[in-house]
Subunit: 303 residues, 2 copies
């Protein structure tokens, strides 16, 4: 039976570390790190996600604020707000909760957040730096996946990994961090990596997965990864989140991409959904915010 | 016996197309595109490469100039030169021949070339855009590999590809362009992609290669890819270039990563070394320079 990768527990551990580090940071005379979130419109899921992040911030000693714009706000209004936060010395991290309304250019919005405060790592300049193995803000979910692997002591060097999915915010950074050179600034994982996608034939997906020491799936397709596809002892990390409704009870629940109850019988390590990668994402966002605060504090001393 | 992918002939075809397009561009009242190369120091290989590029430029109707700095030039002198070329309206493309001397920060140099004139595609901002499937300057060698695959009519959609190597200027962009979404701005190839690296065990490399419909190798390890590793009918693209000396004659010759004489017996398509990817690189650099010239001409009309 697979070892259970308890993202909730690991995230709590990381948050405790950050809390302690922030206490020391503040004792040295720095103000508390500050995270500002922006929500445009009334999307319920966005409200929930931001609330979770703000609760986590409070928990670790990061002050925070949520700015709200109406759904009909113009792109320029949002850009102006970002610009004012970029210039605001009391703000360390800026997070624009996605998606933004359709009349806005999401890419332009992401690039408007200056790199130093871009705790989501979505600015194209941060993406470029990450892809070149340079220090940058790395998106919180990929960073959480990597941290979970590291803290579980999973060996990656020269191992076979499969990343299922090719999204730019999650799968692509994971593939990059899994295969790149561990001697460079991103401390990447030196694994052989296969990127599978929606057009990978099921038979081929099964073949690649069955060769893998580590499977990381981020597709939103429930039960995509079945027991037959998993090599005994492999590490299976499930980034997928799908809301499904139980036809009998009418209740909804969250499921991942992995057929958890079956796959756990063969895997060596497995993450649950919920309670696996999700809490790690929130913890790593706190990590990024604290990093931003430290960098900005160091830069203000220099200047 | 494999179909021979004649990079020299395809490159000549592309150059003829560019030449014709440039003629039309000039007939419309634009000046000829202009490419400026910078060489720092006396590296013989660098001189040869730049000379080849300048000859190709002349051939397609691109005017060019080579600026030379002594090996002992300071980083600031090089940055100042780049800055002056960035601001020079008579220059469309800027190419800093790598490597630069050790006392210079190569990354800083690459980022100094403004994106619009960055015909090598090495500016971090262009890298980020490419990795996000956005229009950008794509480095000439990866672009040449993709173009060779396209013009040979090799199907990639949902196929298995292996990229051997993980260099940031060649393999990484190839892996990105091979797996990304063909509906986005980079017109990528929608293939399942495995990235193999120096730490991939030989047995695993062989396994991945034997599953591949397309193998692209860029390692500089002669005879890394042998006949036994290649699926009958696969397309094998060899980006490797190694100078070896014949122990009998003392003559040096260029070889790739592929055991060409044997692999050609099983492959469906194969590139030779030399005469495969090399000429494509030069042709795509001309393509990028002309693209830069068109973009800059369009921007100057707008402004």
């Amino acid at each position: 039976m697979a070892h259970f990768m308890d993202g909730k527990a690991v995230a709590a551990e990381i948050r405790a570390e950050i809390r302690k580090d922030i206490e020391e940071f503040v004792e040295k005379g720095n103000r508390k790190p500050h995270l500002t979130a922006i929500i445009v419109g009334d999307d319920v899921a966005s409200q929930t996600y931001v609330q979770m992040k703000m609760n986590a911030a409070k928990d670790v000693g990061i002050t925070s604020e949520t700015k709200r714009l109406p759904a009909e706000a113009t792109e320029k209004e949002l850009l102006d707000l970002i610009e004012s936060l970029n210039n605001d010395k009391s703000v360390d991290g800026i997070l624009v909760q996605l998606p933004v309304p359709d009349h806005m250019n999401e890419r332009k919005i992401c690039n408007a957040v200056i790199c130093e405060k871009d705790v989501d790592g979505f600015n194209v300049f941060n993406v470029g730096r990450m892809c070149l193995d340079m220090n940058s803000m790395i998106p919180a979910t990929p960073l959480g996946v990597i941290e979970l692997i590291k803290r579980a002591g999973i060996e990656t060097f020269g191992k076979n990994a499969v990343v299922v999915g090719r999204s730019k915010n999650v799968s692509m950074p994971i593939a990059m961090l899994m295969h790149a050179d561990g001697r460079n600034e991103t401390n990447a994982m030196d694994a052989t990596v296969t990127i599978c996608l929606r057009f990978t034939p099921p038979k081929e997906l099964a073949k690649y997965c069955s060769m893998a020491d580590i499977i990381i799936t981020a597709t939103g397709v429930p039960r995509l990864i079945t027991k037959e596809m998993v090599k005994p002892g492999a590490c299976v990390i499930d980034v997928g989140i799908t809301h499904i409704t139980d036809p009998n009870t009418g209740n909804t629940k969250l499921v991942g991409d992995v057929d958890f109850d079956e796959v756990r019988k063969v895997a060596g390590h497995i993450t649950p959904v919920p309670g696996g990668v999700g809490p790690m994402t929130v913890a790593m966002l706190m990590h990024n915010t604290f990093t931003a605060a430290k960098n900005l504090a160091a830069a203000s001393i220099k200047s």
